[in-house]
Amino acid sequence: MIFSLLGGLLIVAGLVFFFGAALGLLRFPDFYSRMHAAGKGDTLSSLLVVIGFALHELHDFSSFTHDWPTILVILKLSAIVVFIFLTSPTSTSALMDAGWEDGVEPVIEPGRPNVLRDDTEAR
């Protein structure tokens, strides 16, 4: 029961983070900031939701010692968590870089110099 409750809480938290990511995707002005919102919020929310369901699967403490099929499921769910944690940031990074290569300009506050561009050109 306690695991189920905890799991539910994590899932709700994940939904809240995903809502944040969605909002960011909707409202942010340029590609980079949208990517930032999407990348972080998306990864975190996915992790939280999957962990939440994993906790729900783990009905009580005795599952640890007896219920081998359940433990297998939990392990696989943890593997999903690990892989999302591995792949999602990678693709975010790759895309960010590709955007930079492609020449997508970040929105810079008026009056501020575009430090990033200068950096790369200097390099």
Partner: protein
Amino acid sequence: MSFESFAIGVGVALLVLMLPAIYRIVAGPTALDRIVAVNIIGTKTAVLLVVIGVVFGRVEMFVDFALAYALLNFTGSIAAARYLHRAKQAHAKTTAPPTTGKPAEP
């Protein structure tokens, strides 16, 4: 409220929260915005598969291909990123698209 209907609710909520991503696909000024949205929907698909498994009460079956999804769904994004790199290289090399049958070798 059973956990099953809670899971259905979570599933529908995830789908509805995909709407901004779909808006980004429609509106997204650049191709990259669209790819970002694809990335998000891809990750969420893996999560939704788990959710559907919970609703069916047979997570042990669904978790397999949620796992496959988690492993594979960055292939598309990486391919797109690679494409942008390659296209830039080809562009830097020659402004016209290659028509002579020679590949765009780096």
